[in-house]
């Protein structure tokens, strides 16, 4: 169980995340939505401590996460894997090595400098790739793969960490719809079959509705909605995205990056500009 208590993050005078209090039971698949700048990424990045909270606490199964340092902090990061919008693979290394890097926290510094991974780890990596339908790409350089494939490699790397928590920061925002579906299916499979808690920032409402057990909406750093997808009414959606349009009209715009310079579209409503 993951508990956030009054979690806050300030960047200078600006407050990116403000007094967020949440309880997420093990095994849930949670979608976090909200318009650009609402603080979704910051919230997620605080959970695995890529950002340090300015206030409040994070507790995971009794472990206080917000005070961890050094070795303990790295152990925590390996327990709570993260995948990113831009995949964050090492482009010049082959896929298999990228996946094996998910084990890096288990290795002592000196031996790990020489790419010494055990046979068991290699087997595990190949199984992870096989599960994501990428086994035949194992020896290709990561940057020769398509975006969707790279994101699945990133998921395989995350699985190598044998995490208890999987954080995904807009994992499908730079993918085409087919690749996006594959990635989301993989995340849901991990959630359902392995019982791993998944917290996923999403730009598109329909994806959140389709895949998540629970939707959390943020607005100006605060949680303004937290319930099952069906409870998300049109009025709430309007408030979250700050749009007066009817829901159908703006959803498209939020869903893709192509709409924001459409002539006639009021600039203030375009997510990329706010």
């Amino acid at each position: 169980m993951l508990e956030l208590r009054n979690l806050t993050k300030r960047f200078g005078p600006a407050t990116a995340v403000s007094e967020v209090t949440l309880t997420i039971p093990a095994g849930q698949m949670v979608g976090v939505i909200g318009r650009s700048g609402a603080g979704k990424s910051t919230l997620l990045r605080m959970l695995n401590r890529l950002e340090d909270p300015s206030g409040g606490g994070i507790v995971f199964n009794g472990l206080s996460v917000d005070g961890l340092k050094g070795r303990e902090l790295r152990r925590w990061r390996s327990r709570c894997a993260m995948i990113f919008q831009q995949f964050n693979l090492v482009p010049r290394l082959d896929v298999l090595t990228n996946v094996l890097l998910g084990r890096i926290a288990e290795h002592r510094t000196l031996p790990s400098l020489f790419k010494r991974f055990s046979d068991a780890e290699r087997t595990m990596a190949m199984l992870a790739l096989e599960r994501l339908d990428l086994a035949d790409k194992a020896l290709q350089r990561a940057d020769t793969l398509s975006g969707g494939q790279q994101q699945r490699v990133a998921i395989a790397r995350a699985m190598m960490q044998q995490p208890e928590l999987l954080l995904a920061d807009e994992p499908i925002a730079s993918l085409d719809p087919r690749s996006a579906a594959k990635v989301m299916d993989a995340l849901r499979a991990i959630n359902r079959e392995d019982g791993i808690t998944v917290i996923c920032n999403l730009h598109t409402l329909d994806t959140a509705r389709q895949y998540c057990d629970r939707i959390i909406a943020m607005f100006h750093g605060q949680v303004v909605f937290d319930d099952v997808p069906d409870a998300l009414t049109r009025d709430t959606v309007r408030r979250i995205y700050g749009v007066e349009d009817d829901a159908e009209g703006f959803r498209e715009e939020l869903t893709s990056n192509s709409g924001w310079l459409r002539p006639g579209a009021p600039l203030a409503h375009s997510p990329a500009l706010v």
Partner: protein, 293 residues
Amino acid sequence: MSEHTLKPGSLPAEVLARFDRLRAERRRTTVIGLAIFALCFAAAAWVGEFSLSRIAEGAPRIHEYIVKILPELRVSQFGEDMAYWFYGLPQWLALLWETVLMAYLATLLGTLGAVLGCFFAAHNLTPNGPAYFVARRSLEVARTIPDLVYALIFVFAFGLGPLAGILAIAIHSMGASGKLFAEAAENIDMKPVEGLRAAGANWVQTMRYAVVPQVLPNFASYTLWRFELNVRTAAVLGFVGAGGIGQELITAIRMLYYEDVSALVLLIVLTVTCIDLLCEKVRHHFIGKENLA
């Protein structure tokens, strides 16, 4: 330089006005830049006593010196004349070999130092402020003091011979390559760094797997180039007794053994050319290679 213009009436007046302001500003910058360049050029020429008349006056003397150092080679007894010219060849070749080895060892040592230092001296990667400061300043000192000065100090400390030269070149290489390496490291894509950090990697592991694969081709290419430069440096460090062929060359120059001077210079040029060609080959081999790290 291209000059952008916009048709009046095609855009709102305030956009046009802002554009014109930007363009005027850019022109001003260009003019000021050119003026500063011209001023610096004039000042440098004046300080360097650079005058065409002096060059015209002195040029014939270059010719005179060259004629003086060239040996007499007759077709009828070419072999004997060549043998006479290169009478010291075995000893010179040994010294050249020593020179190349000095450069090789110094490049290895210097590169090692540069690689270790550059991660601390790259502002995006450095573990903390003090480490950054220390690394930056040390690399600066290492490269700004001329290698000849290091060589003099080490000759004084460790005596005549190649050890002093190797250390001098190594330290200078460390500083020079370290700065270039740090710059390459500052230009990397930081996403893999974040990816590794998020997976629980420590700082050393992050450098090894997120940074090294990105910078390695750059490092290899710089290092080969550094080796070429170091061969050149090693060839003159003998002037102050720090080993290599330079010792022989400075003696020949000082004692006015004219034909020895030309023979030695020719050998040095040949060696440097060979090294250049070799490095070029290796570099191309590196560039074509996938998955270096």
